[in-house]
């Protein structure tokens, strides 16, 4: 088996007396998609922020295998190195595209930012690469100079995905990527994400409360309740044969269509 890309060891995060998550441990291998499900307030987003280098955990370690330097502790390395990881090797797709995009900057500028941040200095090449990525996320490259607010919600989410994938990351953090979108838009966006993640071999951590989304995207599943992992296994296994009472409740509360 390949070396794990991301290892989480006994991670815990407290906000004062409030425990947001505790005893979280798992591994993620290259190319693998891990779903984290649970109800609102289960600590999913806090966990994701801890994993993505944005929120220092109270206890535990997050270890990431870099391309050249082997495994590093995300919170032990210097801040410049961590921020470099964030804009090269990692991508974060926020639930709300307004959190992940610069609204006063055109779609092209948004997608090109990471390229320029890692040293691209040729306008024509940046532009070509951006057009290429807009095409890959199924946006019309003719809209490259338009502002995010002229795009629909689903399209903004595509711009955000392109903005993250342009530096060819190895690990993507997805926080409810389809939240707030209508069902048909969700379906096409999921389809796009699945094909991109599959074809590029990107590993991903996907946080959602939508079991349909994890069924479609995730290979493995982690079920969280009150900040702790209550069940962990292959997606189909967990969804078709839930063991923990809470998972059983989650699975049974999907409305049959």
């Amino acid at each position: 088996m390949t070396e794990p890309l991301l290892r989480v060891e006994n991670l815990a995060k407290r906000f004062g007396a409030t425990l947001a998550c505790a005893d979280v441990s798992f591994v993620l291998r290259p190319g693998e998609v891990l779903g984290i499900v649970g109800e609102s307030g289960a600590g999913k987003t806090t966990l994701l922020r801890c994993l993505a280098g944005q929120l220092r955990p109270t206890a535990g370690r997050v270890l990431y295998r870099t391309r050249h330097e082997g495994e590093v502790d995300v919170y032990a390395i210097a801040e410049p190195a961590r921020r470099l990881l964030l804009r090269t090797d990692w991508g974060i797709v926020h639930q709300n595209p307004r959190d992940g995009l610069r609204l006063e900057v055109s779609a092209g500028g948004n997608v090109g930012e990471r390229l320029m941040a890692v040293g691209a200095r040729h306008y024509g090449k940046i532009r070509n690469e951006v057009s290429d990525w807009l095409t890959r996320v199924e946006l019309d490259p003719a809209r490259i100079d338009q502002y995010p607010e002229t795009f629909s919600g689903g399209m903004q989410q595509r711009v955000q995905i392109a903005r993250n994938l342009v530096t060819k990351p190895r690990l993507l953090f997805l926080d409810e990527p389809t939240g707030g979108l209508d069902v048909s838009v969700q379906a096409t966006l999921l389809d796009l994400l699945r094909s991109l993640v599959g074809s590029l071999g990107i590993a991903a951590v996907l946080v959602t409360h939508d079991l349909g989304v994890v069924r479609l995207l995730a290979h493995r599943l982690v079920v969280m309740k009150d900040g702790r992992i209550v069940e962990h296994g292959l997606t189909d296994q967990v969804l078709d044969d839930p063991q923990h009472p809470y998972t059983q409740l989650l699975v049974s509360s999907i409305l049959p269509v």
Partner: protein
């Protein structure tokens, strides 16, 4: 004031009674000099300092005047320019101010000055090693219009995260087909910090690079001091396929015929007739004394600024 106090220097002959040499007290000068030393040690880095109230409003050069007051000595010769001109209100009053509170000699000649305080221009005449150029800076933070939070811009500088600055340039090329910024054009100093050169036209940016003179920048309202030491590499930001260029004019200076200087467009009558003249008045006058003549050497004879 007690002239024997260790914090005061005896006033020079002919200066107004009751002021320390150079207006600021010695303790303040010391604080500013420490900031200046740090600024010189870290080219392009903005050093915070305790800006003092000065007898002129913010935006009129309080930062520059404090820097000048801290580096000036009795032997210095001061020149002050505003938009290139020695004879505008701001330049004249700052020159008079230092004449009164420090008793130093003042000049309009670039080559004769040891300290040149400037607003919005770098003199056309090349500077020398024994000269200090002091810039008045309104907004020292080049990232200010991209990121409003001071804590965040400081972190961006600390980590050299300048992607957003590039995005700004990208947006200009995407929108206008070129980098449209004409003044306060951001530069990278010594391969590290991105710095605002103060609102000088981008025409002057190449003069910042590898300049033999010491360049000091003072922002009074924003309380920042930064510097470019002599012979430091200063590069204007650009793209490989959209390189940095400076303004060019189809005309020569109407007074002196110069084609290598920054030109101001001046309306000379109420019919809308206009001429282009050197913005650097000393440079223009110098050339005329040497016998150079433009197309309309008397174009400004009727206006006050041409009279000098």
């Amino acid at each position: 004031m007690n002239a024997s106090s260790p914090l005061q220097v005896a006033p020079a002959a002919g200066t107004t009674e009751g002021y320390n040499f150079g207006y600021l007290d010695e303790q303040t000068k010391r604080m500013i000099r420490r900031a200046l030393l740090k600024a010189v040690a870290i080219p392009g880095y903005q050093v915070p300092f305790g800006s003092r109230e000065m007898p002129l409003p913010y935006g009129w050069g309080t930062g520059g005047i404090q820097v000048t007051a801290s580096v000036i000595g009795p032997a210095d010769v001061l020149k002050v320019i505003d938009q290139g001109a020695d004879d505008t209100t701001n330049a004249v009053s700052i020159r008079k101010f230092f004449n009164r509170v420090a008793g130093v000699r003042t000049t309009e000649k670039t080559s004769a000055a040891t300290i040149i305080q400037t607003r919005h221009r770098v003199p056309e005449t090349p500077l020398a090693e024994n000269q200090i150029l002091v810039y008045q800076v309104p907004i020292p933070e080049p990232l200010r219009w991209l990121e409003a939070r001071e804590a965040e811009t400081r972190r961006m500088h600390a980590l050299a995260e300048y992607g957003a600055m590039r995005v700004n340039l990208y947006e200009e090329v995407a929108r206008y087909g070129r980098i449209a910024k004409g003044y306060d054009y951001p530069v990278e100093v010594n391969g590290r910090y991105i710095m605002s050169p103060s609102p000088i036209p981008k025409f002057d940016n190449p003069k910042l690079d590898n300049n033999p003179a010491l360049q000091l920048f003072g922002a009074g309202r924003e309380r920042r001091i930064y510097a470019i030491p002599p012979y430091t590499k200063v590069k204007s930001l650009d793209f490989e396929d959209y390189p940095f260029t400076v303004e060019r004019w189809a005309q020569a200076c109407a007074l002196c015929g110069a084609t290598d200087s920054f030109l101001d467009e001046v309306i000379v009558d109420d019919q809308g007739a206009r001429v282009f003249v050197c913005s650097d008045t000393d440079y223009c006058e110098d050339r005329r004394k040497q016998g150079f003549r433009g197309a309309a050497p008397d174009a400004l004879a009727a206006t006050a600024s041409g009279a000098s």
